[in-house]
């Protein structure tokens, strides 16, 4: 039996702004298993990011249930969620979001500050992660001294340095040229195949989605049944 990493039932997210109610996600049921690499596709505004945020407990559902790695995220306090995220989830942003005043090595070391590792162990882990994304020779570079593709690879190293079971990526290639995008995709592929990481990647690029082992489509907040393509 496959281990379920993410399990959502009737997951709903409604935004209320003034008198407008926006249903970003409506009754989403989804099971994502250990070792899967799922691409979430769909047009802009279909709720892809919202689903990713709910999985990472960066936001709360307004209806339904979600369990991630066996944890009912609603039951955890702010502090517990922070610690849980640090241990279990690596998040990759479209805009990289590196800390500009820290070097590549320091950026990658940052999540390890929350662990019990000592300074030397932290540096070893961070160096290993940077080597894994092919940046072993850029340890002392600041983000502004790196290309977009390199920045995103540092961000990936930062996301995997605590060895989380789950990696979430929101349009990780959205700001990259084709060659850099391809590098990022092959790193994600490798993390999935060689390191057994479960990955959920939001993308609206069909080419990028081909790196995944499974593609799911969202449309106006609803998740289409597995295998079904959007109408148009």
């Amino acid at each position: 039996m496959e281990e379920t990493v993410i399990q959502a039932r009737a997951l709903t997210k409604e935004f209320v702004r003034d008198e407008f109610h926006i249903i970003a996600l409506q009754d989403v049921d989804i099971d994502i298993h250990k070792g899967e690499f799922v691409a979430l596709m769909g047009p802009s505004g279909s709720g892809k990011s919202t689903l990713l945020h709910l999985i990472a407990a960066m936001d709360y559902a307004t209806g339904g249930e979600i369990r991630v790695l066996g944890e009912n995220l609603r039951a955890l306090s702010d502090r517990e969620i922070a610690r849980w995220r640090n241990h279990n989830v690596g998040f990759i942003f479209q805009q990289f979001n590196l800390i500009p005043v820290l070097t590549a090595l320091e950026n990658v070391e940052l999540p390890l500050k929350l662990t019990n590792l000592n300074k030397q162990e932290r540096l070893d882990h961070a160096t290993t992660a940077l080597k894994l994304v092919g940046l072993g020779d850029r340890l002392g570079h600041f983000p502004r001294q790196l290309s977009g593709g390199q920045e995103q690879r540092v961000a990936i190293a930062r996301a995997i340095v605590t060895d989380p079971a789950l990696i979430l990526a929101d349009e990780p290639t959205g700001n990259l040229d084709a060659a850099s995008a391809q590098e990022v995709l092959s790193i994600l592929s490798r993390l999935n195949k060689e390191y057994g990481k479960t990955i959920v990647m939001v993308t609206h690029d069909a080419h990028a989605a081909r790196s995944a082992t499974k593609i799911r489509h969202l449309e106006k907040g609803a998740l289409l049944p597995e295998g079904q393509l959007p109408a148009d």
């Binding site: 640090n86 979001n97 820290l102």
Partner: protein, 388 residues
């Protein structure tokens, strides 16, 4: 474990102009505060060093300074044979009748002249002041129109150097010596023969005050009581230490003004720090969101921004100390409001005063940093990430 300090330090360096401006505001505030503290401290040192715990100063009842006191020669005859008064090697009671008045001397900073305390005393009075040494020249001779000037007077008044003549009273007086009274207020006085001064100022019978030495500390307290309760003598007594401590109050108006100014500046610079930190929080919203996603708690975000503000203020505090450091040891004169004469003292900026300044700066930084830091910690992750 927290967000590393280097993160805060480098952000302070990155926005160096704002950092320097804000730190400078705090530095000036600290500098004002420290100057005042150094002034009061220097003044207190000058006054308290002047007091000998065995010395009892006897003045007219209700008089707060020797200058406004009267003491008759007959009163002195009664006083000097009281029990508990120490005697010198020759067996004489250690009791000195003195006259204190103010004369005007032209000074470096004030050609119209400044007021200076003139003290007429007899050899026993000099003998009682063991802390005073002649650094150049000699003591005045009894019966001659000679004066010995304090070290600070010699430095501040060009007319009062060795061999010069000073004009006051009924004529000229020759400066025959310069005395070093350590840190005591006597450095700001001129000493001359009791009878010469009293006759020049036509006060041969009614002088100012008497200084007596008790045999020991317990006797000193008893002697003070005895004199205060003596109906016939009708004089007031207090220990010299007490007397000089009360004189420190002459610095109160300046102290008050200084504290008032630094309080206003403190409010200003604390708000400046707050402004700077609010701007930093706004500019780094996305970083805050990212740190939260990496697993840092709201608490560590709050702590990090708080620490950054405190670091900024610490920098200002140290800068403030450096600004006032050149004042250390600078001798200056201040009008003593009790005796209406000038007293010279050293600004003393020691470690405790600098520690006070740095602490004060840190408090300013903490006050200014708290609300911005709290705002940073309250941001929702997604809201923070969306800000540019």
């Amino acid at each position: 474990m927290a967000i590393p300090l280097s993160y805060n330090l480098r952000n302070l360096v990155v926005r160096k102009t704002t950092t320097i401006m804000t730190a400078l505001g705090i530095a000036l505030t600290v500098a004002v505060l420290l100057s005042i503290l150094a002034l009061v401290d220097g003044l207190r040192t000058a006054f308290t060093a002047s007091g000998n715990p065995l010395h009892v100063l006897v003045m007219r009842k209700g008089s707060d300074s020797e200058l406004t006191s009267n003491f008759t020669r007959t009163g002195y005859q009664d006083l000097k044979f009281k029990a508990g008064i120490a005697r010198n090697k020759a067996g004489e009671p250690m009791a000195s009748l003195e006259i204190v008045t103010v004369i005007n001397l032209p000074s470096v900073s004030n050609p119209d002249g400044s007021n200076v305390t003139l003290r007429g005393l007899s050899p026993i009075g000099i003998e009682m002041r063991e802390g005073i040494r002649i650094s150049t020249g000699r003591w005045f001779e009894t019966g001659k129109r000679e004066v010995v000037v304090g070290r600070s007077i010699a430095a501040r008044f060009p007319a009062s150097t060795l061999g010069q003549k000073l004009r006051f009273g009924r004529g000229e007086w020759e400066v025959v010596g310069i005395m070093d009274a350590g840190k005591s207020a006597n450095n700001s006085e001129i000493f001359a023969d009791l009878n010469q001064v009293s006759s020049d100022f036509q006060r041969t019978e009614v002088l100012s005050a008497a200084l007596v030495r008790a045999a020991d500390a317990v006797t000193a307290a008893a002697l003070v009581n005895d004199i205060n309760n003596d109906q016939r003598l009708n004089m007031g007594a207090r220990t010299e230490v007490e007397y000089y401590e009360s004189q420190t109050s002459s610095a109160l108006p300046i102290q008050f003004l200084g504290m008032f100014i630094s309080a206003i500046m403190a409010v200003g610079s604390s708000f400046a720090a707050m402004n700077t930190m609010y701007a930093a929080v706004a500019r780094r919203a996305r970083e805050i969101g990212t740190l939260r996603v990496l697993g840092f708690s709201r608490g560590s975000i709050l702590f990090s921004f708080f620490v950054e503000s405190v670091l900024l203020a610490l920098f200002g505090g140290v800068l403030g100390c450096l600004l006032v450091l050149p004042l250390n040891g600078v001798t200056t004169g201040m009008s003593n409001f009790v005796t209406f004469s000038e007293i010279a003292f050293d600004f003393s900026i020691g470690f405790p005063i600098m520690a006070t300044g740095v602490t004060f700066a840190v408090v300013l930084g903490a006050l200014g940093g708290f609300f911005p830091a709290r705002m940073a910690s309250k941001k929702e992750i997604l809201v923070a990430l969306r800000e540019v």
